[in-house]
Symmetry: D3
Subunit: 274 residues, 6 copies
């Protein structure tokens, strides 16, 4: 169960409105790697944990914090939009500054949300749960969490470079630091699990059942062999279960497939040649 | 540029048709973590690499191999569908076996694809590029690649448990082994980059610009403190840039936000109380 | 069955082309609350009515009119696009006016539709049936219809403020009036049903089966108690079935959940602590 | 900012597992009218309120409670899934009971989520923000909120009818009661705004600017005139701004449109007849 | 502008309810190639025609008829659903017939639409305008229309094979005949345009501007040369502008690409090797 | 199985960067009719062919070539993006040229992909498999392929008109020529099948089972009879199975539908009038 306090986790106040930057900031609110994604991902992972209370607690801690980040970004965007021009377009056409703002902002910030933040990315694509995962396997999921914090911090850093507003930069500096912590924490949790389970997910599947002859082989299917220079092409494998091998000219191992004709009531094209 | 040979990378032949399993197998062909996702993700990452030919080559090698896996799964699914019943439903209703098959299979395998594989998951959701990322930052992207191979291998393992067909199991055992290699290879590439750059993405953003006072702090926003027991709550941080700190009772740091009223031509509800 | 006449329900002719406004006008054609949404919603509701011929007729009347509104907007947009510049971009870069138009218009209006209207919103998101509902419960659905006409009229009003073109304003003034009528009519239909059924949907579910002790309680889960000042926090409930009650400090009523471990063949992380 | 306690708002424990019902229950967790929709909708509306603290508080109260409902449903679904069979399908085929369960459950509950709840509906469509709205106009939005609680309670009632499990029914009885309250509260808030603003949204748009001659007219575009019998076809309009009028045979008011040819560099079909 | 009559274009009455077939029939109502697709596609194409009144009229004629087909299918599905069982699942589990029906039907037909048709396909994916096109080039669009009628008739034929219900078969026989006509009519319109414009779309683009040396060449990028046996590999080209040529071993014509490094403020991985 | 060579099929090098054109070019990479669509469509069609090796080979040849086109476009877009400005927006606001570029480009090309190509269209909508079809009926599918090459070449021609960059024009001239060939080849394949099967898909469905009395009838449901002038309204039908007939005033052939009430446990609005 959740409780809300009206105060923000951290400041979300720009020096001045900037509707074009408001559009761009939507990416880290409602985009693929935005705060809605991490909040929902951590909470669903947390609710689905079976045993392992330590991890459940960490997931719910962090998911709950991310809800506060959604709130901060929504507030910042609403404030950046306060300067959105809504003159007639005709009037705008005569004023290059207004014009540039209108050209660069998200029109739905006027027409749909009335100067409010939206659950959408910087191109106006609405958020979708296609972005997230909660699989029940914590090592697989923590890797996704580390990815999300890496992609997210990268996007925040790019946005930091695109503004001079000290209020915006201050909030982004907070988010950058929190993403630093979250990368650190998922890294720590991953190490813990990898030390216990080895690195290949799922560790519980018996390795002798897979085709072990290709478990550590790099197939050079793309001409050129720069990839042979990497650590992944020689030496002991990272899971210490074999030795990396580089196959210069991989060949197919199974014959050309031939499918049986479909029955007539499917109304496919009848085969000519079989 | 690409070339295709008609032979398959590995066998994709079931012992017998099984339209219900064909539906399930769609998950690892056209689902969030299926072969279309990894093929497209690695190729786009590879094409966007700027310098770093070794990584570009590795990405294109692996992306090209994943195209072969799409082909194997498409072939397997087409063969599993060869036993799909298309009697009238009325006739089916009288035969519990046919009935169970019809209830459990994807009706689009009959109506839409005519017993062919589809670029969709086990619930018939069509594949979407919302699933993938190519960010230009290789450490961020390789973490996503390791995630994809972890989630993918997990799903293949679950499918392996759900069939007795030796042909299907043989192909899945091949895919499991290849996912083992791919987890190993992205792991190796990640280690290489982490050793050079440290672990926080993007490493090029100057750390002194973020709010360092919260870069290694766990906020206990979720009641209960099992999460205090983890490695992430004490000791030196994983990035060796600080010491983990646990804040038992986190408080908000910014006042309650108050937004300005919108201009009248936005036609929002006028404020009562300001 | 439907018939079409070539004449328009009302005028849809701008004084002059304006490709940027054409993009914005797409919102009320193919957006979440646009004319495609109401046409499809009313028709599906109408076709699914079981008995209640009066409501079925009203739904089909209005749905059929909305088809005419789609047509008017499509025509208006096609005409606004007649001034779209298709010079080379290089040439455009030198002309700030052309430049501003190109920056503000939807590029798909040139590349995809060839100066035609699209079934999409102002950000180019294609229309989806995720926007609509036909539930079989008319009170629930008429409330959605009233919502749709409210959101739609709000968007049309915002667009009206953004143009000086008398032709466009004339058409929008027509749509505003029709949305006024449609709000009035769904309001009337709702009153009629509420008088017969009381206000809680579905009225046919026996109230004694729900947990009546919380049927009229406001839980103050968000710190601050401004919400205690509203009508919803005291006095008789709107359904006349109880008295509103305000709970200042709501507490959880069920213990911390604990899930059982998954069976091994699911390959989740095995629990440490159970 | 948010805080979480580990206890649940209310019980979410079934008497026994039921993977088929778990699939169905997903509708009110991650479907169009499920708990994710209301939580996100109320929170975004709340964060975007400009002035009107009473409404902001109510929105954040209720949005925060809905987060607790997501948690209850996620927990219930995870428990219902504990009985999911994962034998081989071949073995299943011989056992009609297992068979029926496998045919009726969501395969992604095994393959993707590992017996966990998903942010998706009963057909496995992932949640999307296409479902929700926060427009800045509170009357428009409260109407959507009343709709959401009506559609939501309707779906919960239908699910209540489909199970005998006393644990599930107990939780649904709680949700039914909360939806009763939420319908009551939005109804109260709507009344308050309607009394102040009259009923047509947005009330701030000057009525004399719309085509008032059609503001209270029902066009009978669908043959048959059962719709003439309704309150919407005669008497004073609900907004008290006019009198309802029924037009038996509506005619078009504008000529057949004729579009100008596109310029040659658009490469449309050149017109034959103009 | 549109008018509606209450009578149906053709009968839509099954002999008896069949909720499982109702689910399947959704494919040709709200699926990729269903009646919503053709109705919307033809109407948008018609509204966007610039000149060429003959084609505009044909498009609007046919689009208007397709609206009647949506209505017929919606009616048929609502009637097929009249037998949907809504006992408790527990009771169902004991009755194999009910059980099979529940397993095979779309649960949203109970929970969401209350026994009504939905704008969705046989897997419950909601209709999206991603399925359709109106490009302004009539030859391109008529080819899409011929495709839509071909895919649509194919699906109707497959459904016809899956039922014994004489009422359903009667309606499908009507739709099959109308699809026959529509294939014939788009075929005729295409011939007319091809005779005037030649076959390559767009015909208005000057052929000398394209790389004519590869305008009639088949590159054998896929090993095996069965494709050399086709008409497309030898003889005069279909557009009579050249002679087909078969290239057995196609080679790349441009060097390996090398991208420049990104500027530092993008925070991509810095290149090692350039 | 696939192989990749690092060289490009053809040159993909612009004279100079142009981030705005990069956005537009995304349409033919990741849009509805872009190269991802044709690559995936032809490969899935090819893998699903049952017999008919000649067609299977042709599909795999062409699908494999389209992969090379994806690569060329991705490379071109990455190069066009090399000039993307990432100054602060504030600095940009003072420079009209930078400003115009920022307003016209896709912000995700900076924030998400770090100056790389994306699997998305010119409005930033991610690619989805909703765009494609592989039905098992080759005539139906080849018609879709001809459509795809027609729509695709149309879009490339429009883009060709919008740039002066000789490098871009050179690559587009290559794609135009390849689309010419692909239109020719699918045209040839279609002719071959039509000569064997006649033109109505599926040809295997017995014509006597359809309602032949309406198999060649044009219903004039849209007022005005310009459509009577076309070839489709008189003379022998294109399939030589009948004579076209024009029905000036089509009438409904079935009575007004009347649905039965839903059972009470569905909680629909109870019918008043039955």
């Amino acid at each position: 169960m959740f409780y809300h306090v009206k105060e923000l986790q951290y400041h979300a106040k720009p020096e001045r409105p900037d509707p074009v930057f408001a559009r761009m900031l939507q990416e880290v609110l409602g985009g693929q790697w935005g705060e809605i994604s991490v909040a929902m991902q951590y909470l669903f992972q947390g609710w689905n944990v079976r045993g392992n209370e330590k991890y459940r607690d960490l997931l719910l801690d962090t998911g709950t914090e991310e809800l506060a980040h959604i709130e901060m970004l929504a507030t910042m965007i609403a404030r950046l939009l306060e300067g959105a021009p809504v003159p007639t377009l005709e009037a705008a056409a005569k004023d290059p500054v207004i014009n540039a703002i209108l050209g660069g902002m998200n029109p739905q910030h006027i027409i749909v949300s009335g100067l409010g933040a939206m659950p959408a990315d910087s191109n106006g694509n609405r958020w979708t749960a296609d972005y997230i995962i909660a699989s029940g396997n914590l090592l697989a999921d923590f890797r996704m969490n580390l990815t999300a914090e890496s992609q997210g911090r990268l996007q925040v850093a790019r946005l930091y470079e695109m503004t001079d507003d000290r209020g915006v930069k201050d909030m982004l500096a907070w988010l950058l630091a929190r993403d630093t912590m979250h990368q650190n924490q998922w890294y720590a949790a991953i190490k813990e699990l990898e030390e216990k389970e080895n690195i290949v997910v799922p560790s519980t599947f018996p390795r002798q059942l897979e085709h072990r002859e290709v478990s550590h082989v790099l197939f050079n299917t793309s001409a050129g062999n720069q990839s042979a220079q990497g650590r992944w092409a020689h030496g002991p494998s990272m899971d210490c279960e074999g030795v990396f091998k580089y196959v210069e000219k991989p060949v197919p191992l199974a014959p050309k497939p031939k499918l049986h004709p479909a029955p007539p009531n499917i109304h496919n094209t009848p085969p000519e040649d079989c």
